[in-house]
Point group: C2
Chain length 249, copies 2
Amino acid sequence: MFTVKQLSQMAGVTPRTLHHYDDIGLLKPSQVGDNGYRYYGEEALLKLQQIMFYRELDFPLDEIKKLMGRRDFDVLKALETHKESLSRQMERTKRLLVTVDNTIQYIKGENTMSEKGLFEGFSEEEQEKYALEAEQLYDPETVRESNRKWKAYSAAKKEAIMAEGKQVYQDMIAVMPKGADSAEAQAVVEHWRKHMDYFWTPNLGQLLDLANGYNDDPRFKANFDKMHPKLAEFMREAVKVYVGKKRSK
Amino acid sequence: MFTVKQLSQMAGVTPRTLHHYDDIGLLKPSQVGDNGYRYYGEEALLKLQQIMFYRELDFPLDEIKKLMGRRDFDVLKALETHKESLSRQMERTKRLLVTVDNTIQYIKGENTMSEKGLFEGFSEEEQEKYALEAEQLYDPETVRESNRKWKAYSAAKKEAIMAEGKQVYQDMIAVMPKGADSAEAQAVVEHWRKHMDYFWTPNLGQLLDLANGYNDDPRFKANFDKMHPKLAEFMREAVKVYVGKKRSK
DNA sequence: CCTTGACATTAACGTTACGTCAGGGTTTAT
DNA sequence: ATAAACCCTGACGTAACGTTAATGTCAAGG
């Protein structure tokens, strides 16, 4: 017979944990003394080890409770289910990692930017850094072309282009009340498309990808959010409509 | 000015969430009416979007609170830290997935086992299934040799070997009180090593790997736990001592 | 026998980020 | 005027214990 402390040390948990398991009826002591002391036997140790095995797998306690002493088949099903949830969790974590990474890159870019006193949002370095990843996300050739084109511009020209870009987005915000499928919004999208020619000439599919990228890429998203919190989303909608109309023609 | 519901719908959260953020001082309303109603402005929407961005990355609220309106450099550090914790989480989940998978395999094996009425723990099927993974964990050639050897034995011989194996483990349990470095325990390890010859002849490093495998592989672990909850661990210790002594000679 | 230290008990609050009533005002539309 | 829809403030519930707090028990030594 073991006392709480003894058992807890053998199993590598705290006495409090045993109290808790007793409270919720997951692991009752084999005996209880007149003094109220809990006493556990060998079989309790085995049970506790089973419990801890499932705990390591992140099963919640009441799941474990239902699982213990069940037939293998049920356990099997539970494990399969659990496996899927673990898989989903991993996918999610993977995504989060990418996002964090992107954001880190973004902030680093923004830092260099402000150091160099460039106008906010799309510094040259940022463009380059972005290009590296963009090559994987989008089409490598077009991205490289975009970069070549951009670099060829003079500094003044660059600023003019950026300013025009900002204007486009401001226009976009202005027509938001009209709705993404309004004539006004569609006109701005048209303008935006022409503006893109400074970089490269996207086809309809790439236009969609770009609008989606504005939402999904945190560096873009952050810049758009600065202008208007709904801008990125609105553009996605508007571009979707635009492309839909163009294609149906 | 937006009411709670309006803002909540724009941002995709519940009003309760806004109440909560107000309570903890993470996002206060821009104004509060005489009736006690909360009213939020555009800037609150921006802030909320920021908050939700961090929330998506699984930052706890008080972290976000500290982070908001901080200089980029601090945010960068926080993100780097967070990235590491995400990485760790992913490693862990990866490990759990492997374990769950192993366990599922183990249970399936146990089922076939009992169907075929073989003695518990190490059925032939189980051996084979195990071999597949063992080839990746250990050395493929030796594992294959082990399998060839094992298959060559008659059923009676197999049972005899298994029985001897059980005896070895019982002996091991018997000497546990003496300690892993006791002469008695070391003698049993010696015996165990000879016993392994029925399968193959491990060198010292492989001996260690085996003992570790007893602890890390859930199918082995479960069988060992049936005999004694501390057996696997004790064997690891004893074998470590054994190998240490042999090597120093 | 008494004290001391190590151990045991129960009770109850703290943690995280809200969900979910409950009870009761306010605004808006009909 | 009245109902629908919305607002408010509590306050409990969640998961799995950690952490005091107040108090009882046991074994050993003086």
